[in-house]
Each structure stands twice: as C-alpha cells, then as structure tokens.
Symmetry: C2
Subunit: 175 residues, 2 copies
C-alpha cells in the first residue's frame, strides 16, 4: 500500500487521505561536497566541515548537519514523497536523528498518515499528522519527522458532480 | 542575565549551565535571493520561489521555507548564540513556526536552558534541553525550537586542581 508520490499530476485533498496511507519518495545521494557546503553556510562545526577533525569528535568521522538531513527530506517530500494539493505546508513538528547521514549515503523517505482532522472553523481545509522516516541505503533510519500539515478540502465541482450541488455545506453539517 | 555567546573563547561545560541561564545571538538578515536559493535546492514550492505566485497562497506573499529559518537559527546558535564546549550536537527536538520569515527580515535567537541532566552511564557528559526563540526585527517569533543537546562535562585537570585527583569517579558516586 505504498504509493509513489507524483506532486503535480496526482495531488491529494483532505478527503483522499486516510490514517495508515503510505507514500514513498524518490532518492537523493549526498556527498562530501554537499555536506561541507551546507555546513559552511548553516552549521559550521568541525564534524560537518572537516573529515580529519571529525574523527576525534562524537561523530567519529564526517557527518551531515541534522538540518541538512531535514532539508533533503523536505526536498524529497516536495518533489515526490507526499503529493498534497496546495503543497506541503507545516506549522511544525518533532524531529529526531537516530544516526548521522554520512558522505555518499542515498536517502529515501517513507511517510505514513497518522491523523486526519477536518477544521471546525475553516470548512475549506483540515490538518494531518504525518510520520516521515528517512532511511539510508542500509535501511537505517537517519531521521524521524512527525509533522502537522495543512491540507485543503476538495472544492465543490458544481451541480453535475458535487453531491451538495456546489453549495458549501453549513458548518453544522460537519462532523 | 542574557550573555552574548562567544563560541571558541568562552565555551561552556555541563557544570557551567543552570536552568534559566539565557544566551542571545548575533543577527542575520535574509533577503529574497537567499529565500529563493534555499527553496530551489530544498523546498521548491511556489510560495518560497515566486512572489507573484505566493500572493494567491496561504502565505499571501513570498515566505522562507521553515527549514531555512531552522538552518539560519542553527548558524546563529553555532556562531554566537550558544557557546557550548564540544559544539552544538543535538539528538532532535520540537520545532514550530508561528509566523513565516519574510524577505529582509533580520533574525536573532534567544536561548534559555530548561533542563540540565548529567548522564548516569557516561560520566564525561550530560544532556541539556534548550528553548531557542527566533524573532524578527519586530520582535515577532518566527520559530520556537526545543532541542536536546549533548554537552561534555569539564575534564579533570590533574591532582593539583581536580577534587578527585584526576581519577574518574565510579558510577555509584554519581547522583
């Protein structure tokens, strides 16, 4: 039941999402050049910048910034891993990095819908909670992200198609 | 009681940290070029890439990726905002973005130690929980990060200085 996401052509509305639905992304291979470039700009610490210096640290060798792993995860979700209509818009979440991302790792993301909640105050949208696990080529988890995202509801399509005749349901009719 | 961090010259060990201790970072001004460059690489969605297209979205105008705000926050913490010996090494945390970061925003980070916990199994280190609020030039919070970080304990300095004569205390002596 893992679907490969296709962002533009197959975008999903809140009504299309169910708890337990899973999506898998394409892959991204990171290298030493990418790791050092991100670190120089955003996380200039020896274990992200210099392989020799990294050996004497807690990491035992060059490792990507956790925020770099998070950014690559986002790229994979946006481009292929989570085809939501309206895009991927989050208010926040929990992130953890059980293992570091290393040079030449190939990362993929599998996401699972954990909660779907229509908004009571905004009939055009809802919130979902999604768990996204980012794994390397050995199947080891390098990041777990539990994110809360805003997802639009499917707009009414007019009298021929919509069961409500194109009329927005009053709020009292929402669950 | 806000201290301005100085990474290399003033790095702190676990023993130097107390709940309630605060640190403030230098500032970083973001612009449209930075927002679009980060988005093109890691979060290629219209509201992060194109000001005109962004107007019709939930954001109402160009906004930085939340992961870009997180990455800039990390840069500010590493360079000036949290002078920990051993650097800033996190196992994860909670992040939220109450408001988007906009072009020409100037961001600063104030961090407060919320918890200090010596390790029971590793006498050379401990964990801290830190709340870091990233604000724009209007004082509005654009990100709250609650991170768990690993911090080394101060190494024993030898018989003349260390109360344990340079000998590592047995685990039974730890609290």
């Amino acid at each position: 039941m893992v679907e490969s996401g296709k962002y533009a052509s197959n975008a999903l509305f809140l009504e299309d999402l169910r708890v337990g639905k899973r999506f898998s992304s394409a892959s991204h291979t990171i290298d030493e050049v990418q790791i050092k470039a991100f670190a120089a700009q955003f996380d200039p610490q020896p274990f992200h910048l210099d392989g020799a210096a990294a050996k004497t640290t807690l990491f035992g060798g060059l490792a990507a910034s956790g925020w770099h792993t998070a950014a690559i995860t986002m790229k994979l979700l946006v481009e292929s891993g989570l085809p939501l209509s309206g895009g991927i818009i989050g208010s926040g979440g929990e992130v953890s990095w059980p293992k570091p991302t290393r040079p030449d790792d190939t990362l993929t993301v599998v996401s699972e819908i954990e909660e779907v909640t229509p908004s009571r105050s905004r009939p055009d949208r809802g919130m979902i909670r999604v768990r996204s696990e980012t794994r390397n080529q050995y199947g080891e988890i390098v990041q777990i992200l539990i994110a809360k995202l805003v997802v639009p509801r499917r707009p009414a399509l007019g009298p021929d198609v919509s069961p409500t005749g194109g009329v927005t349901l009053p709020r009292a009719a929402e669950r």
